[in-house]
Symmetry: none
Subunit: 157 residues, 2 copies
DNA sequence: TTGAAATGGTCAAAGAAAGTCAGAGTTTTG
DNA sequence: CAAAACTCTGACTTTCTTTGACCATTTCAA
């Protein structure tokens, strides 16, 4: 298993349902996992970014720390956030998938719904002779259209 | 016997009834069969594509892997049938919507799933500067990919 | 007050896989 | 048999991970 994955799991296990927040020491954690301290930053950047639904805060110097907080927004608000902040007029498959995973983790869509959306923006689905630029534009429009359709349905539930 | 056929058999034998999923390392497999790593991609493309009822997923970099999942769900047969019979290499929005409604009526997808699929193939989602012919080709691929992905998972919720 | 110690942050480069694609062989087919 | 279709390979590309050298901030003791 990847080091990054281990560190990710470790941190997530520290966060329970009632305590969506964890504080740790970068050097201690690096020591524990026998890796370079900057590895911790890598994990934070790739697995605990706002895109993943987390915010981090830290302090240097004596008694320094890193605090990670899981952000939970109400469903409609989260979808709006994604719509406005994360999806522009163009989005790559990787970015789109990340958003879909986040929607799933926050319980806003089911496994099946997430699978369908991921399929819709996949390279497989868009394997037609157009430029990458156009494909990314289509991805953005699809995400937008799908999320809008979804939030419309959620309203009258 | 052809190399590709051997690799195909090998992978299929790794998938048992209960475990319709296999994870492998491209380089290791290539090493085992004494061939170029890209040969594995060829086998995946020609024998484990969504059209064949499989979906694949992979990751690059350290600890990378390739995962292959076989479509097993009951009802999958029916979906695959529709996939090959009703969806060619091109489909109009009207036809796609008709198909989605039918899927819904047969209880093969939920309301939400149907809404997402319809959104994905809508004119709005595809409002980019490409010809209608290309759009219909994209619609066909999307329907195909979405339905394959869907039939690859268990019924939940 | 001020410099040393204690932390955490950044970034570039190396390493580890997997992906792509054109072209050379092979096999199948009309 | 010639053309089309299918296999395979190798060079090159892209993505993801890990490390290390150097930087920035905060605390604390002299």
């Amino acid at each position: 298993m990847r080091l990054s994955d281990s560190i990710e799991s470790f941190i997530k296990e520290m966060m329970t349902q009632e305590e969506p927040e964890v504080e740790l020491k970068r050097n201690e954690l690096a020591e524990y996992f026998n890796c370079a301290p900057s590895q911790i930053n890598y994990v934070l950047a790739t697995r605990f970014s706002p895109d993943h639904g987390y915010v981090t805060e830290s302090r240097r110097g004596g008694g320094g720390y890193i605090r990670i907080v899981r952000v939970v927004r109400p469903g409609a608000q989260q979808i709006l956030y994604l719509l406005n902040e994360r999806i522009g007029s163009s989005i790559t498959e990787t970015e789109a998938v990340r958003l879909i995973i986040q929607l799933r983790e926050q319980g806003l869509v089911t496994e099946n719904e997430a699978a369908i959306m991921a399929a819709a923006v996949s390279a497989q689905a868009l394997a037609v002779p157009v430029t990458e630029g156009i494909k990314d534009a289509i991805r953005a429009r699809e995400m937008r259209t799908m999320l809008t359709a979804l939030s419309a349905r959620k309203r009258d539930e």
